[in-house]
């Protein structure tokens, strides 16, 4: 469930998109707020469909939301 190599910009993107709350993002992508919290803090690596949904919610490509850190592997 952990995501040691996966980083994301969800928090920053939320604030850039009109101070979007975690609940609003959760409602947009169809998950619970707890899942957004866990994803945002890097404790949960979302599935590919959910990652795409999050990127679509911000209207940007997935690679601008999630980054895989190859160096630490």
């Amino acid at each position: 469930m952990g995501s040691e190599h996966l980083t994301n910009n969800i928090r920053r993107l939320r604030f850039e998109h009109g101070q979007m709350t975690q609940q609003q993002l959760a409602d947009k992508v169809g998950v619970t707020r707890q899942t957004i919290i866990a994803t945002e803090s890097g404790r949960y690596a979302p599935s590919l469909p959910l990652a795409f949904k999050i990127a679509q919610a911000f209207g940007i490509p997935i690679e601008q939301v999630f980054q895989y850190d190859n160096e630490s592997s």
Binding site: M1, G30, V31, T32, Q34, T35, I37, A38, S41, R43, Y44, P46, S47, L50
Partner: protein, 142 residues
């Protein structure tokens, strides 16, 4: 409290009531050496107790279908933990008397349904507790 935690608490409540009730029924039947009419009365009482619990259980199943992927993962992991725990519990329950009482002795038939229901309860209890603990740990971590 998330839907997953609520579902776990409901499950814990339903299973506790049903298990205790079923065990009491078997103990009652064994004590009274039940025959004929006793079974009809017990079936009626079981129906009266089970119907509302089954209704709550079915409503809970509807909630479970709406779990998101992270909750499904917690649910599945808890299920795996409970399956292993149930096997360990069942093993202990069936083998400890063998070593304590001895292989040549006998046990009452009454213990068989009690072992079944206690194993079922143990599995459900551990499943629910595993969900509640995992959710609590996640909340604690922020």
């Amino acid at each position: 409290m998330s839907k997953l935690q609520k579902s776990a608490w409901v499950n814990l409540g339903i299973m506790t009531i049903l298990t205790v009730f079923c065990m009491l029924c078997f103990v009652f039947m064994a004590k009274n050496n039940a025959k004929g009419i006793d079974y009809i009365i017990i079936c009626f009482i079981v129906g009266c107790v089970s119907a509302p619990l089954i209704y709550v259980y079915l409503k809970k199943r509807g909630i479970e279908r709406n779990f998101d992927e992270r909750e499904q993962l917690i649910y599945k992991r808890s299920f795996a933990i409970s399956a292993v725990a149930m096997m360990a519990f069942l093993f202990a329950l069936c083998t400890i008397p063998f070593f304590v009482v001895g292989g040549a002795n006998v046990v009452k038939v009454l213990y068989l349904p009690l072992i079944f229901y206690s194993a079922l309860f143990a599995a459900q209890f551990i499943h629910s507790m595993a969900i509640i603990i995992q959710c609590a740990m996640e909340e604690e971590n922020g």
